[in-house]
Amino acid sequence: MTYAFRTEGLVKRFGATTALAGVDLAARPGTVLGVLGPNGAGKTTAVRILATLLRPDGGRAEVAGHDVVRQAEEVRRRIGLTGQYASVDEDLTGTENLVMIGRLLDLPRAEARARAAELLERFDLTEAAGRRARTYSGGMRRRLDLAASLVARPEVVYLDEPTTGLDPAKRDDVWALVRQQVSQGVTVLLTTQYLEEADALADDIAVIDRGAVIAHGTPHELKGVVGGQTLRVRPLDPARLPEVATLLERIAGQRPDSPGRGMLGVPVDGDAALAPVVAALAERGIAVTELSLRLPSLDEVFHTLTGGRSRTGEPVAEQDREGAAA
């Protein structure tokens, strides 16, 4: 099978700290690999090795069959990197940022300008094109950063926590842009702390913790392991909780539990149960203050995969940059 990129037994140490302890990742061309893990799990380190910014201490990594250490130049021709924090030049305008990258990629001046204008248009930054990036909002910076990584029309794009710190609407914008790239055949390595994000974008997910892959599979397979979605209902009147419990059990086929005071939750498979529940609630005139369909949180995923070891309070084993940006 051909891979857009892959790592085998990747090891990286920073002094006494082992950031990666033998990580295997792989993605077929035109797919999205989601690397899911908490801060300090080693996500950024893996991305930096694949982007030729760090040398691995063991194992190997290749992009389109080119070794990241021995054929770094070949790798750099094929990749686009979007950092965890937007690495745009704040003193330059949006246009200047992109033209500069174009010029560094040996595009003639006119072509670099045309490419910049095209990307600014596509990323809805045309109006802000002449303004310094310093004045951009967080979402605009992310979009400019993403645009900068696409100037070269790369085969593989690394998105290191592209939505951390963005509000939901901005996050949806970034997601749409990622999907657009994938539809054009680009392979994406997406690191994220949000299961929801990995589920929304990734074809495959690797869950990493403390420098090792602890689970790997499609989002569907992974949900099979950690449990899928949960339907939650909070009636306005707590006295009606038993009634809601009966109704949920009938529709979902499982006894609901109580994840919080005055609330009931039941595992469901997809959103098929949502409409009958809404209908049943309406029929009985039960007013609700909350009705939601949610995925397990990263905490819950880790709780399941690591057999109960909570990720909070664990030592953070990654270079300080990742910790500092968190």
């Binding site: 982007a51 030729t52 910014l53 750099r76 965890q84 690495s87 030049d89 003193d91 010029r103 560094l104």
Partner: protein, 253 residues
Amino acid sequence: MSTRVLAHSATLAWRSLVKMVRTPEQLVDVTMQPVIFVVMFVYLLGGAISGSTSEYLTFLLPAIMVQTVVFATVPTGVNLNTDIRKGVFDRFRSLPIARSAPLLGAVLGDMVRFVVCVVVLLGFGYALGFRIGTDPLSAFAACLLMMLFAFSLIWVSVLLGLTAREPGSVQGIMFLAMFPLTFGTNMISPTGTMPGWLQWWVEVNPVTDVMAAARGLLTSGPVAGPVISTLLWSAGLFAVFFPLAVRAYRRSA
């Protein structure tokens, strides 16, 4: 060096220039401060040291031009460090460009700052009554020589910029080194009245040679000795710190 490396360096030098123009406070630092020094020293000390302010200006200006370009190497390291901390360098290093291009670009862009410093000070000196005592060609050579020395010294700043934890420490360490290097000379006053240990330091300090060469070429005094000494020091600094800076750059995470 291939034309691609030059083209990439030029692009990145353009970036440095744009940033310099957009953050003029950096230029103010390296131009206003020496202008204030000139005014202060000339009118406060000039009469006492040289008998007249105009004579003192002749003594001081070539030396303070040297001090200014030496100080102008500091922002290079600070800016590099900022770029690294902000992740801008990660982007450059992930592009298929020569590894040396971002460093060369930053340094080339900053050479413009040296030119600005020299021109501003010379112009200001002229306004106060300073006159070149040699010929235009020698004066031009004096300017080139001090910029050459600064170009060699800039790699110390680059090295610090690549290795220091934060921009503030680059600035701190550089200034700590710059004060004895520039004030520990005969810039302000002749060495005759200084204590023995200080006279010794002024004697071994390379910046003293650069200042002597600048005085020789701009006003009067010996030229050959100080110029040769300056060239040797420049070559030595470059030979040591350029490879160290490039190595630090290749290693930097």
